[in-house]
Structure formats: structure tokens, C-alpha cells
């Protein structure tokens, strides 16, 4: 059995691990083993991050780049949810739709979202339309799959119970099938947000002219490692916030359903 260790000890160890990590990083950089141009110290990165909060780089400040990224993300993600969830539900409820859409969907699923970049640029340009398509390509499949699973694998006894109680069909959908698939849909949204956010970064690295990804590419071209790392931190923070928010929603629903583990 893994031996239990108490809370203070794990806190000390955790802090120790962090300090060792940052110390190693600092040591490699400050001692010149790795040229500072390639690996700046943690302090230099932090400095640059704060600096970028109100200094323009690649046309905008870091918050402005983030806002541009987030706008694209929000559109792509919402579009994926609005199209994907109903599609998934309908596929789960109506077998014929499942059988028609599934082969197309399975084919498209194996195209890495990022491979849509050339068509996205060709069809919608590099402003906001192109990146939205790529985010959509990343965020769409989990929405569909989880809504489908949620709709398909409803406990048949619930439906039988509803039928036994003489529930009309429309009410079976709104009061049994839909609520039963909510937990699965929410977890789908969480996966979807993660993949969408990641696809956005990829899209911006390649085609955009604003956004954090673009800022990082410019940083790379200017050999500004601190800028690249600041971008990574910003992307990580936003991704973390998104995930935390959706995880919170997931927990909330699980708790209300008494599904806590």
C-alpha cells in the first residue's frame, strides 16, 4: 500500500519540489550553462509578463491579445455547442440519424483540428472566421459524442417508469431524456473547451494576425524567449480558469444528482 503521509509533510515536499524546479531553471540560466537568450531566468520571464500587461508587442498589449483570442474561442466554442449538442442528442434518440451521420463523423474525427488550417484560411481568411473554424473543429467532436452517449445510454428503467406513469412522449423528452443526459453533456463541454482552447493556440500560431498565439510567434521570430514564455503562462492561466469553471459546474450537477464519488 502506498504509505500515507500527513498534510504538513506533503505541503513541505510540494513546496520543496517547486523550489527545486525553479532553482534548477534559475541555476541553468543564471550560470550560463544554457544561454540566457534561450532560457531566461524565472524572474526575467515574470518581469516580461508584467511588462507586457501594458506594453504593446506585436501590435497590442498582452491583455488585448488575450481578449482577441478569447473572443475567437467564445464564438467557436459556442458554435460547437449549439450545433454539436442537439446533433448528438438527436443521433442518440433516432437510430436512422445515427446510422447516417456516424460514418461521416467518424471519418472527420480523425482529421486533427489543426489540419483544417489551410481550408480555414482559404474560406474564411485569417481574421476571425478562419480561427473560428479551427476552434470549432477541435471543440465539436466531444460535444457530439457526449451528448450522444448521454442520450443513448439513459437507464431504460427510467423510461419504463415514465411510460408506466402514462407520461406523454414530449414530456418524456423534456423531463426524462434531457435531464438524464445533462451530466454527460457537461463533461463533454469541459473536454470540448480544453480542445477548443488548444486548437485556438494552434490556429493563431499559423494564421492569425492578433491573439496570444500570434504574439508568441512574433516573440519566437524576434528571439524573445521571455515573450514566448509569457504567452505560455497567459494561455495556461486562461485554460486553467476555463477548466476550473466547467469542472465546478460538473461537480455541482453531480452533487445535486447524488453521484458524488
Amino acid at each position: 500500500m502506498p504509505k500515507r503521509i500527513d498534510f504538513t509533510r506533503s505541503l513541505v515536499l510540494g513546496l520543496g519540489g517547486l523550489i527545486a524546479f525553479l532553482g534548477l531553471w534559475y541555476g541553468l540560466s543564471a550560470s550560463g550553462i544554457v544561454p540566457p537568450l534561450f532560457l531566461p531566468t524565472p524572474f526575467e520571464v515574470l518581469d516580461r509578463f508584467i511588462d507586457l500587461l501594458d506594453r504593446r508587442f506585436a501590435g497590442a498589449t498582452l491583455p488585448a491579445h488575450l481578449a482577441a483570442s478569447f473572443e475567437r474561442f467564445a464564438y467557436g466554442f459556442l458554435l460547437a455547442a449549439i450545433v454539436g449538442i442537439p446533433l448528438g442528442l438527436l443521433m442518440g434518440w433516432f437510430r436512422i440519424l445515427d446510422e447516417i451521420v456516424s460514418p461521416i463523423f467518424d471519418g472527420l474525427r480523425f482529421i486533427a483540428p489543426i489540419a483544417w488550417v489551410p481550408f480555414a484560411a482559404l474560406w474564411f481568411g485569417t481574421g476571425i472566421g478562419g480561427p473560428i473554424l479551427i476552434i470549432f473543429a477541435g471543440a465539436f467532436p466531444p460535444c457530439v459524442i457526449n451528448a450522444y452517449r448521454g442520450a443513448k445510454f439513459v437507464d431504460p428503467r427510467l423510461i419504463e417508469a415514465a411510460n408506466m406513469l402514462g407520461t406523454p412522449n414530449r414530456r418524456v423528452i423534456t423531463e426524462i431524456l434531457l435531464p438524464a443526459s445533462v451530466p454527460s453533456i457537461i463533461s463533454g463541454l469541459r473536454v470540448s473547451a480544453g480542445l477548443g482552447w488548444q486548437s485556438l493556440v494552434g490556429a493563431e500560431l499559423i494564421v492569425a494576425s492578433t491573439g496570444v498565439g500570434y504574439m508568441m510567434v512574433q516573440g519566437q521570430a524576434n528571439l524573445s524567449t521571455t515573450t514566448v514564455m509569457s504567452g505560455m503562462i497567459a494561455i495556461g492561466l486562461v485554460g486553467l480558469a476555463l477548466d476550473t469553471a466547467l469542472r465546478f459546474a460538473e461537480r455541482l450537477i453531480e452533487r445535486r444528482r447524488g453521484m458524488e464519488t
Binding site: 502506498p2 503521509i5 447516417i100 456516424s102 486533427a112 489540419a115 488548444q198 494552434g202 514564455m229 485554460g239
Partner: protein
């Protein structure tokens, strides 16, 4: 032939006919936006026999596949042991987890500019970035796999006096292997996405390079060929991993069922 296959086949057939009609017969879609079947076949012939973007299709495929497999293997060879260690040893977990929590939210693609800055456009940068991308899912799922082992199984191994190495090989690894394979699948997906993105950002060969050049040349036929090639390779490697999983987990009824379904 099962009904599912019939309807699926019919759907694909209808789509291909629609594609042909709308591009070639009625000219509803401009050839500069989406290629006709003929243009796609021409592009395929072009890259297959005469070569495009610095090589023939086979050469590009070989190059991309080689990098994905190399990066994936490096990630798995480092990620799975680390996950086992973190799952089993509380001290290691407490030490490493905080560092991991910081690195984890950074999407794999966000490492691309840094990797290019460090190592340029060659193979080593691609392998580095695939490693970063595929490492995280391997670690997390292995770690979770160890944690979900039922306590009596561990106690039974202890009671039978199982020595450490044998315990790792015959109890710890097989008991967590269903989750380890989930991690490997996610790692493989991440490897492909990352490689294509990295090649799109900058490369000398590879399918991403084909997509990139085709986009600049406004060559829709070639874009489609590139996308289909990426999808087929992603599908084939996933299938190969699935075969391996079925074989390794033949003892696991749930996994066998999931693999079949």
C-alpha cells in the same frame, strides 16, 4: 451485410455523388474554394509521382510517421514510469505534483514556438514538442490508473510476499493497464495534432509541410489530399494501438467489450 454498414455505405456514396455534382456538373462550388473529385485525384497523382513541397507523398508520410512514433515512444517511455512512481509513492507524488499542476494547463501546441526557438525547424524540435504534448496524458492516466487499483488486490500481493520487481511487473502495471492504454490513446492523438501543427508552423518535409505549401499555392486539391493523408494515418495508428490494447487486456472483459463496440 448489417444494416449499419448498408446505410453508412449509402451515405458515403450519396456524399461523393453530391460532391461530384456540385463541383463538376453544376459548378456550385468554385474550384478555388474546394476541389472537384478530378482535381483531387490529379493532386494525388502529382504528389505521389512527381513530388510536391520537397518530396513525394510516400516520403512525406514516412517522415511524419517516423517523428510521431519517435516522439510518442519517448513520451510513453518517460511518462508511464513517472505516472507509476507518482501513483505508488506518496513522497514522489507530493514532490512532483505541484510542478506538474503548473505545467499541465499549458496546451501542447503552445510549446511549438519555444521548441523552434530552442532547436530550429529540424526533427529534434518536432520530437521535443511531441514529447511535451504526449507526456502529460501518459503521466496523468497512469497515475490515475495506479490510484484506482482496488486495495484488496494490493493487499493480496503483499500477503503472498511478492518481491518488488515482480510486484511492479505482474501487479502494478497490469492492474493499471486499462488506464495506461487510455493515456496512450490520448498521447497518440496529441502526438499527431502537435506534429501537424509543428510542421505547419515550419518544416522541411512532412504532411504539415504539404498542407502549408498547398495553402500558400492556393491549391485546394493538394490541401484535401494532405488532410485525407493525415486522417488515414491517424486512424491507422489508433487502430494499431487498439489491436495492441485488445491483446494486452484480453483478460479484461470490460476493455474487450469497449474495444469491440
Amino acid at each position: 451485410m448489417p444494416r449499419r454498414l448498408q446505410i453508412g455505405g449509402a451515405t458515403i456514396l450519396v456524399l461523393v455523388i453530391l460532391w461530384y455534382l456540385s463541383t463538376t456538373v453544376f459548378g456550385l462550388i468554385a474550384p478555388g474554394r474546394f476541389p472537384s473529385p478530378q482535381a483531387t485525384i490529379d493532386a494525388l497523382g502529382h504528389v505521389l509521382f512527381r513530388g510536391y513541397a520537397g518530396g513525394t507523398l510516400i516520403e512525406h508520410i514516412f517522415n511524419s510517421l517516423r517523428l510521431v512514433i519517435l516522439g510518442f515512444l519517448v513520451a510513453v517511455a518517460t511518462g508511464v514510469p513517472l505516472g507509476l512512481l507518482m501513483g505508488w509513492n506518496r513522497t514522489a507524488e507530493a514532490l512532483i505534483n505541484p510542478v506538474f499542476l503548473i505545467i499541465r494547463p499549458i496546451p501542447p501546441l503552445a510549446w511549438i514556438p519555444l521548441a523552434i526557438l530552442w532547436l530550429g525547424l529540424g526533427d529534434s524540435a518536432k520530437i521535443l514538442v511531441i514529447w511535451f504534448a504526449a507526456f502529460v496524458p501518459s503521466v496523468i492516466n497512469t497515475y490515475a490508473g495506479v490510484r484506482t487499483i482496488e486495495k484488496p488486490v494490493l493487499e493480496a500481493a503483499a500477503m503472498l510476499g511478492t518481491p518488488r520487481l515482480r510486484f511492479i511487473r505482474e501487479v502494478l502495471v497490469p492492474a493499471s493497464s486499462p488506464m495506461i492504454f487510455t493515456g496512450l490513446r490520448l498521447s497518440l492523438q496529441a502526438s499527431w495534432t502537435t506534429l501537424v501543427a509543428a510542421e505547419l508552423v515550419g518544416a522541411f518535409y512532412g504532411l504539415g509541410r504539404v498542407l502549408n505549401v498547398a495553402q500558400q499555392d492556393l491549391y485546394p486539391g493538394m490541401i484535401l489530399v494532405g488532410m485525407i493523408a493525415v486522417a488515414i494515418l491517424g486512424w491507422a495508428t489508433t487502430k494499431a494501438l487498439g489491436k495492441l490494447e485488445m491483446r494486452a487486456l484480453s483478460w479484461n472483459q470490460a476493455a474487450a467489450l469497449a474495444g469491440r463496440g
